[in-house]
């Protein structure tokens, strides 16, 4: 005996009721539960759908789907970080590395020549952080609207559009910010800040522009079902 479309819909609903927000996980768990229920029906055709479902769900243990959801989140966040890192490394290979290095040197020379370099560095840090934060909020908002239209949430999409660990990014930036000396004693400090600013701008560009631009492509490789639905 096979499950009907209504029963499949009920399984999707069941996963949602048990805090599985994301469509990709809902789909996988629905298929799993459906297989389990069908196998039970082979042994005992008189079993009701709901009874069989409860029995199958119990196999996930007392925490239900929670562990599966949490680990999936951890796995995809790691995937996202790897993706950011890959893009980042690209800027340190030929030919892009030339641009990165030139940017650092130019910034250093510029900071040396002006009299208000400390103020400028502090302003740039704040500006970079604000743009980053603003960009993330904007992307999140845009993605939420898209989700509302389609009715489906994809975990990796949420991570790409603002759920990635930008908290960590801000933390690092604030730490550095606190360490900015009021007066630069030597050349060395200016070098460090030039490098830092260029790196932060690059990271921001990757996370706010590069990856979101190619998001469709990444989503299709992560979720073959993205196209099917």
């Amino acid at each position: 005996m096979k499950l009907t479309s209504e029963q499949i819909e009920r399984l999707y609903q069941f996963t949602r009721q048990h805090y599985v927000e994301y469509y990709d996980l809902q789909t996988e768990l629905t298929d799993h539960l459906a297989n389990g229920i069908e196998a039970q029906w082979e042994q005992n055709p008189n079993l009701s759908f709901e009874e069989a479902l409860q029995f199958e769900f119990k196999k996930f243990g007392i925490f239900g789907f929670m562990n599966v959801v949490e680990q999936r989140q951890a796995a995809l966040t790691k995937k996202y970080h790897d993706l950011v890192w890959q893009h980042f490394k690209d800027f340190y290979k030929l030919p892009k590395i030339i641009g990165s290095l030139v940017a650092i040197v130019l910034l250093k020379l510029f900071l040396e020549t002006i009299s208000f370099s400390e103020e400028l560095i502090i302003t740039s840090f704040v500006a970079i952080l604000l743009t980053f934060f603003g960009g993330m909020v904007y992307m999140k908002y845009k993605n939420r609207r898209k989700t509302r239209v389609s009715g489906k949430k994809w975990l990796f999409e949420e991570i790409v559009f603002g759920k990635g660990s930008f908290v960590g990014y801000i933390y690092v930036a604030i730490c550095v910010f606190n360490k900015i000396p009021r007066h630069f004693e030597n050349d060395y400090t200016i070098w460090i800040f030039s490098i830092m600013i260029v790196l932060m701008v690059l990271l921001e560009y990757i996370m706010l522009v590069k990856i979101p631009k190619k998001s469709e492509e990444y989503l299709i490789t992560t979720y073959p079902e993205y196209k099917l639905t």
């Binding site: 096979k2 789909t27 599966v68 680990q71 951890a74 995809l76």
Partner: protein, 111 residues
């Protein structure tokens, strides 16, 4: 899973070995296959299987395919090229572990 502490560390290797043999499999199929091979002695719990699959996928050892089966979508896992290499490594590691354990648990066998 029976005596889960002992088997826990080998779950990924078990999954990879099965995928190496079968080509591609879906989650439920893996739990049933393990049960069948071990005659019900070893049961992979659902709560452990999917996290393991998702982790291997994020590490690039597995890739996924989705197909419509009956009236629902089914997600299949299969080994990537690096997954195949990793399977060989992990299997030889596991075999070495088993050998060492045998020597430790039953020293007479080593003579």
């Amino acid at each position: 899973m029976k005596n889960s502490q002992l088997y826990k560390g080998s779950l990924n290797t078990i999954i990879m070995k099965l995928l190496e043999e079968k080509g591609r499999m879906y989650g439920y199929e893996i739990t049933q296959k393990v049960k069948e091979i071990t005659k019900g002695e070893l049961k992979i719990t659902e709560g452990a299987l999917y996290p393991a699959l998702h982790k291997l996928e994020a590490e690039g050892f597995l890739e996924v395919e989705v197909e419509k089966v009956d009236n629902r979508l089914r997600k299949y896992y299969k080994l990537t090229e690096s997954g195949e290499k990793e399977t060989v490594n992990r299997l030889s590691e596991l075999e070495e572990f088993i050998r060492n354990m045998q020597v430790l648990v039953n020293p007479k066998l080593s003579y």
